[in-house]
């Protein structure tokens, strides 16, 4: 009994001291809330979920609690909000293209489904922001309503025909394209082994993934944690052409994407260098910040060495 009360008194004193010290050092402004210019428009049920789970970091309506202003905590909060808004911001959603909006919503679902988002450290302090299985179903049902059928889409058929014409007429690019992180287009990809093929119903594309000899050997030996340096995966993306009979064939070539393994060179992006070249002209996509965006999404595939399209037994 005696022991218990002594402990209680000491703990109380320490706690009081902590509260006293921290109270005077609360940050006044952790992050500013700029104006909301073009907010996301989704059904009420979805909107409420986003507000509850995502808005603190992914909007200009960040709700700063008093404990977010504590030292250390305020620095973390400030960093997370800045990063979050940079990735996407529901308050300026209108500034994104329809395609960008769509792909972000699917990414959100998959990041939440993989337990990557909201950040576990954030939900530990803000338990009300946790995304439940029921919440995931709400989001999934909404996504399913956004799937557009492309059966006998003549615009897509013509786009493929046009690209074919141009490809026949124009010589292939003489200089190899180089991405912001130094990754080059690799014309040998076509001789690598096919790792997998995918059919994407979220964005109407179909893909072939090739693995170079080092990557293929690692996969065969199931030694992919981590993948060895020198492993390369190339992903080719085409638009789907559907005939209404269930037959889907590749139409227009959209892009080629690379994952190049070098634990040292690409240590900021989990050891993988990411690159994407668009269209037959292989135009480097986006800006220099693109590889880090790729890496953040690929965290959802950490269990398969950050590679989404590894064939596994379900």
């Amino acid at each position: 009994m005696m022991k218990w009360s002594t402990l209680k008194i000491i703990t109380g004193l320490v706690a009081t001291a902590v509260v006293a010290v921290t109270a005077v050092s609360l940050s006044n402004e952790v992050v500013a809330n700029p104006p909301v210019t073009g907010e996301i428009k989704v059904p009420q049920e979805v909107k409420q979920l986003l507000e509850r789970a995502c808005y603190d970091c992914h909007s200009n309506e960040t709700n700063i609690r008093w404990y977010d202003k504590l030292p250390i905590a305020s620095a973390i909060v400030s960093r997370d909000v800045q990063e979050g808004r940079k990735h996407f911001n529901f308050s300026t959603w209108d500034s994104l293209s329809a395609n960008e909006q769509k792909s972000l919503l699917w990414e959100m679902y998959n990041m939440a489904n993989a337990g990557r988002m909201p950040l576990p450290a954030y939900t530990a302090i803000h338990p009300q922001s946790k995304v439940s299985a029921a919440d995931l179903t709400v989001l999934k049902n909404y996504l399913n309503t956004t799937i557009v059928s492309a059966i006998n889409d003549t615009a897509k058929v013509q786009a493929a025909a046009k690209q074919r014409m141009q490809q026949v007429q124009q010589p292939q690019p003489g200089n190899l394209r180089v991405y912001y992180n130094g990754i080059q287009h690799m014309p040998d990809y076509h001789s690598w082994q096919v790792m997998s093929t995918t059919s994407r119903f979220d964005n109407g594309s179909m893909r072939i993934m090739y693995a170079n000899a080092i990557a293929m050997e690692a996969i065969k030996r199931k030694e992919i944690h981590p993948f060895p340096d020198g492993a390369i995966i190339a992903k080719l993306v085409w638009e789907k052409l559907e005939d209404g009979e269930g037959n889907v064939r590749p139409g227009k070539f959209i892009n080629i994407q690379y994952m190049v393994r070098d634990a040292q060179q690409f240590k900021d992006t989990d050891g993988w260098g990411y690159a994407r070249f668009d269209g037959p002209a292989l135009k480097p996509y986006g800006t220099a910040t693109e590889p880090s965006k790729c890496a953040s999404c690929h965290k959802a595939a950490a269990t398969t060495g950050f590679v989404f399209d590894l064939p596994t037994k379900n």
Binding site: I125, H190, I208, K222, T303
Partner: protein
């Protein structure tokens, strides 16, 4: 007290957060269920791929160098030597990305090989199946399947380097099925000798198998063996020939002719020599007493292919005392005395016991790689 609780929760949370952040890239020890690779496609290149939503399958169509050439040249005319492989997989959910379906279990492999068919001056085809599940209605229509594969259009690919198996020089292996007991055979033996002499500087290899089904017509051919008759029966299946006969010549396992039909055999040999080979085969060997150890090295796609080592006696003469050739003195060239199938690896070795009448100068060893589904011979060479 509420404040105190909040503060403790916060201190705890900060520690928790630090722990989570530092372990962000670690992966739980969860057992990974990576699918075994059921189809090794090295040596082939992708032509296109497609999805069948009704069947829930996804397929990849591959071609050999000749098939890629067809798709690059855009002449619209298929030619002998093209080979296509269609790998069809079950489609399954990609558990790491909702919105994506991925290939699952391999359902079947279909290979279409285009072969010269001189009799109708066109090109014939052969189709072989592997990994096939219960025959379904969709694949029972062979002609339809072949048409689907041959009519497929190449996908739009960004710039890539064409593979150059064109460096693999063409070759011709002429296999003659003959017998001392058949009166039509001596001219075929003569032609075989002529082919060898005329093509001394070319990668043209000739071998003669003496079949055993004439042995009961009065004269037993001392070089005959039941195994060679069986081999000829395999060709009857592969080349869709109704019955076996002598003399029969098969060129690269792809086309067959009456063994004395010089014009057509020479034409087939020339055509094969000018075509790129799918594999390369290199043989080296050491003889120790009556044992010959043969080392081989292979490049290119070797799936479903068997390496055959033929131990050949270069010359032989027989005075025939009975049967159709009674009273004739026959001379033979390139008589196969042993045929050894070897399981294929990229490189390996095999040991052959040499017979008592073996001499180093009078015999030789010829190796060739054959597809077990179609019979096509994709590489041949001799041990120097």
């Amino acid at each position: 007290m509420v404040t105190y609780m909040k503060a403790m929760q916060l201190v705890f949370a900060v520690f928790l957060a630090a722990g989570i952040l530092s372990s962000c890239n670690e992966v739980s020890g969860k057992e990974l269920n990576i699918r075994e690779y059921a189809f090794n496609d090295s040596g082939l290149q992708v032509i296109t791929h497609w999805i069948n939503e009704k069947a829930g399958t996804m397929s990849v169509l591959y071609g050999n160098a000749a098939a890629m050439e067809y798709h690059a040249s855009d002449t619209g005319k298929h030619a002998a030597g093209e080979s296509y492989t269609l790998a069809t997989y079950k489609q399954q959910d990609n558990t790491r990305w909702y919105g994506s379906k991925i290939n699952g279990e391999l359902q079947q492999l279909e290979t279409v090989s285009l072969e010269p068919r001189p009799e109708n001056a066109g090109t014939g085809y052969r189709i072989s199946y592997e990994n096939r599940r219960q025959a379904s209605g969709a694949t029972a229509d062979t002609t339809g399947r072949v048409q689907t594969i041959l009519d497929a259009k190449v996908s739009l690919f960004p710039y890539y380097k064409r593979s150059t198996p064109v460096d693999n020089k063409g070759f011709a292996l002429v296999e003659l099925f003959t017998s001392e007991g058949c009166s039509s055979c001596p001219p075929a033996d003569k032609l075989l000798e002529k082919l060898q002499q005329d093509n001394a500087s070319q990668p043209v290899y000739v071998i003669a198998y003496h079949v055993d089904y004439w042995d009961h017509q009065g004269w037993k051919d001392r070089f005959s063996d039941r195994a060679y008759t069986e081999r000829q029966r395999s060709y009857a299946d592969w080349l869709r020939v109704e019955s076996i006969y002598t003399p029969q010549a098969v060129v690269n396992g792809a086309s067959e002719y009456v063994g004395s039909d010089e014009t057509r055999i020479v034409k087939a040999v020339t055509s094969e020599v000018n075509k790129a080979a799918d594999n390369t085969l290199t043989l080296t060997g050491q003889q120790q007493d009556r044992q010959l150890t043969v080392n081989y090295e292979l490049t290119g796609q070797t799936r479903n292919k068997t390496l055959f080592l033929a131990l050949v006696q270069k010359h032989a003469a027989t005075q025939v005392m009975a049967g159709e050739n009674e009273g004739r003195a026959l001379t033979h060239v390139q008589v196969v005395r042993q045929l050894l199938p070897v399981e294929v690896k990229p490189s390996g070795h095999a040991t052959i016991s040499l017979p008592a009448d073996y001499t180093k100068d009078g015999w030789e060893l010829i190796g060739f790689l054959q597809h077990t589904g179609t019979g096509r011979i994709t590489a041949a060479t001799r041990l120097n």
